[in-house]
Subunit: 242 residues, 2 copies
Amino acid sequence: MTESEFLAGYDPAAYERPALAVDLVLMGIRAGRPAALLMRRTQLPQPGLWALPGGFVGIDETLDEAAERVLRDKAGIARARLEQLYTFGAVDRDPRMRIVSVAYLALLPAAAFAEVLAGGGLTAAVLGVPWAGEAGGPVSAVSEDGAPLALAFDHADILALAVKRLRGKLDYTDVAFALLPEQFTLRQLQDVHEAVLGAALNTSAFRRRMRDRGWIAPTGAREAGTAFRPAELFRFDRSRQS
Amino acid sequence: MTESEFLAGYDPAAYERPALAVDLVLMGIRAGRPAALLMRRTQLPQPGLWALPGGFVGIDETLDEAAERVLRDKAGIARARLEQLYTFGAVDRDPRMRIVSVAYLALLPAAAFAEVLAGGGLTAAVLGVPWAGEAGGPVSAVSEDGAPLALAFDHADILALAVKRLRGKLDYTDVAFALLPEQFTLRQLQDVHEAVLGAALNTSAFRRRMRDRGWIAPTGAREAGTAFRPAELFRFDRSRQS
DNA sequence: CTAATAGTGTCTGTTAGACAGTATGGG
DNA sequence: CCCATACTGTCTAACAGACACTATTAG
């Protein structure tokens, strides 16, 4: 029996299979707090609740490709930093049928986040995450005008994990730079760190640490249009990162 | 249209679905190096190559339950520390059909690892992971008598990620204790850290750090049967961890 | 000049590495 | 007594927090 004969005789439909989907946490910083983009469900099940943009995984599509497709089709974004978060597989997480979902985290700079928001379709949810010792407790989602947003399915768990992962990776990976424009000031970088951590940082220690690490390079340019001393602009120097 | 009417009309077979499996990295420390338990494939495809124990996810089973079932049925272990690693979804990762696999990491103390090994069925693969700046490069699997083990499918990637994840979590979570017996000496704890990191650690700094952290409690007992000064035995104090 | 924020210098406390030195079991 | 390993004390370098200080822009 050759390998191709074996494959011809293999029955791929022998067992009932769970459906497989991806769900995306499109994350950015809004007004000093972490925020995610949600869709309001219009159809059953759970109409009126707020859900992460997602979609089923095609049979000829990798998981990463499915996530990129959702990013393109539901948010209109051509490219973003995408990272697999975790796979959620509770049996009753979706009342329609058994759906296992691979959650992805997408990080958007403020301008890209605002652009998606302006396109309609998606709504910004400001995420409240009690400190809870860096572990990140249950998440609360609130619209920008302060109204609480009730989350569909197990999407509150997914959002909580996204914030937790972001916090954990903030200090030893380049995630913060994915939330910033190409050029940024050290103050903006610190603001991103403070928003994600939900805590204030020591300015001089932060600056010292960031400069010593060697991940950022001065551009030589400075901020424009400030009413006070303009800050130096830096860019992320990918070549020197780990 | 009520929610139950909607569900009745939903067609769960509208699209072709990938199959969903779990694969387990059963990890322990053997002779000062990280090791995993592998099965030799006897059937097509890829007969003779070495694979992680795995199985398909049942339609009424969570991912964690599927992993526990594989642990029980293929390794004969009732319980172990199990943690989801990552989900692998390349389109051609298995030549039989499209299979997406959720990889799990199981941590076994030396005694449990040896017991599974004695039961036959599974073989120990000593993992060689070049340092590569903590990121963990490609992994090499070698049997305990030194013969290289060729890995099936994308299982080399899964093993590499397992070692990388273990390294990353070693210092700020309790993973090291899952690889040790109930009672252990500080030397044994340091040996586990050194095996996982593949690097020597400073003894006095290590002991100071472990004791200051407060995660371990002295049992009052000491090692027996040594030809020299017996070391103090500790246990992991879960109540004081984070 | 003032207001406001950018950015630096320096003191101090905490923690890690190095390494010599002491403690304690068996023989 | 010796050997081997467990364990401790202490010096030093690296680094983080605190905070006062200087720099630079607009008006």
